[in-house]
């Protein structure tokens, strides 16, 4: 079995005149926890969205789980095939407002994957337990805090045991006191050996949980390094400027 789960080559994306992503090359190996850092507007989120086809890239190749696809001309069936093996966690949770916590987790299993209801519910409860919210199974999203909603969104994203989980700034919309509970769940997933690609502003997560960091600026990958190397002795001036800025922010 090949070690890389995704391999991206020459991914390009423009919005009108604006070049959001310029020739991105990226490899994520099985078991990797990759943090994607960079200031806002650097293209991190768009990169993630292109990888799960929430945005359509203009150019580029994607090799997923050993199969190659052309990002610009990929077919619907192929997109479905890739999505079946990925999970996606959004910045704003995006729980289904008309479904309870448990149904949010089981909906995809029952409707899209035709898992028998009983089996799906057992799996759903197991996942709610894992994120510490079994007692909230019958609550609707509006009855839950942001942190609880995001933990359920994570349970939903891993319900079908994806090969890779994409996290799009999963703690950015949360009140500061709720960030910890979400990061705890994410750390547990990392410890289980799940493959994760995480766009984040949480330096502690990038430094302590992820094993590799990608730094983006102006739609390009400026630096890619193992996390301890990235944080301790990066040679890149832009990265150092970014890290300095962040640490000043955190001191405030």
């Amino acid at each position: 079995m090949e070690n890389a789960i995704i391999k991206v080559k020459g991914l390009k994306k423009t919005f009108g005149e604006l070049e959001v992503l310029k020739e991105i090359d990226l490899t994520v190996n099985r078991g990797d926890v990759v943090a994607v850092l960079g200031s806002s507007g650097s293209g991190k989120t768009t990169l993630l969205r292109c990888l799960n086809f929430l945005e359509r890239a203009d150019e580029g190749k994607l090799s997923f789980d050993g199969r190659s696809f052309d990002l610009a001309s990929i077919k619907k069936a192929e997109i479905a095939e890739i999505r079946a093996k990925t999970g996606f966690v959004f910045q704003n949770y995006n729980l289904f407002a008309n479904k309870t916590a448990l149904k949010n987790v089981t909906e995809g299993l029952i409707i899209a994957r035709r898992v028998p209801r009983k089996e799906a519910e057992e799996k759903g409860l197991e996942l709610l337990r894992k994120v510490g919210l079994e007692d909230k199974r019958d609550y609707y999203p509006y009855q839950l805090s942001g942190g609880q909603q995001q933990r359920i969104a994570i349970a939903r994203a891993i319900a079908a045991d994806p090969e890779i989980i994409y996290f799009d700034e999963p703690t950015s919309a949360l009140d500061p006191e709720l960030i910890g509970e979400v990061l705890t769940v994410m750390r547990e997933l990392a410890e289980e050996g799940r493959t994760m690609l995480v766009v984040t502003h949480e330096m502690s997560f990038a430094e302590n949980v992820s094993n590799r960091v990608i730094f983006m600026e102006n739609g390009a990958i400026l630096e890619e390094a193992p996390s301890n190397e990235f944080f301790r002795n990066t040679k890149n001036e832009r990265v150092r400027a970014f890290l300095n800025m962040i640490s000043k922010e955190e001191e405030k």
Partner: protein, 231 residues
């Protein structure tokens, strides 16, 4: 109590006519006004959902046709539409009885308004939830059926109830194209007995009764649909 008896003596004829006409007003109400409303509103909903979804999904050509339909129907008076279909179409060989013409016109007319209600309700469902649906493996139709439509119906329910209540009263316009619905029936009794004020108040009260029942049903419905919202 003296004054009450006197009042009755003075207006005996009018009051007797009003009381005796009650069944003659309520029966066409139950057998014509209400079926006319139910039939027309049902067809209107079918049209509205189809037209709204065509626009929501941006289906080419059909979408332009939908916009044109809404533009024309909302831009012309309901009464003119009734006349056009009932009195106008026979000259091109299409002869419809009054009730059929009324159902057709009310359906098409209300369909245009409700289509806009439905479209705005569909568009109010956050895009993020649709993306989340795709990300857990659902296809377009699954996302529509399980996530978007249930929430859109919840949003559209109060304004659609509004339209339904409006339609109950609009059916009185069918009196103009020979449909003996509740208002036409009242007019006939009024003319035959030379009693106007009392009878028109009476028929107004029956419309009010029908609307009140619908308002009550709307409230019950909203309470059921509110399960997943904070209101």
């Amino acid at each position: 109590m003296q004054w009450l008896t006197e009042l009755y003596e003075q207006n005996k004829r009018v009051i007797d006519v009003a009381i005796q006409s009650f069944p003659k007003i309520i029966v066409p109400g139950l057998t014509v006004t209400i079926p006319l409303t139910i039939l027309s509103f049902t067809f209107a909903m079918v049209i509205a959902i189809a037209v709204a979804m065509i626009q929501y999904a941006r289906v080419p050509v059909l979408r332009q046709i939908s916009r044109f339909y809404i533009w024309v129907i909302r831009g012309t008076p309901l009464l003119v539409q009734l006349y056009l279909v009932f009195f106008g179409l026979p000259s091109v060989g299409i002869v419809l009885d009054g009730f059929t013409a009324a159902v057709i016109v009310f359906s098409i007319n209300e369909g245009a308004y409700c289509a806009e209600t439905m479209r705005s309700a569909l568009e109010a469902v956050p895009v993020g939830q649709i993306e989340a649906g795709y990300c857990v493996g659902m296809n377009y139709f699954q996302v529509m059926r399980r996530i978007v439509l249930p929430q859109a119906f919840r949003t559209a329910f109060p304004p659609l109830s509004n339209s339904l209540i409006g339609m109950v009263k609009d059916t009185s316009l069918a009196a103009n194209i020979t449909v003996v619905e509740m208002f036409m029936a009242t007019q006939r009794i009024a003319r035959a007995n030379y009693v106007t004020l009392a009878l028109y108040i009476e028929v107004a009260l029956v419309y009010l009764l029908f609307s009140t029942v619908l308002t009550f049903i709307q409230r019950r419905g909203e309470r059921r649909l509110n399960a997943y919202t904070a209101f």
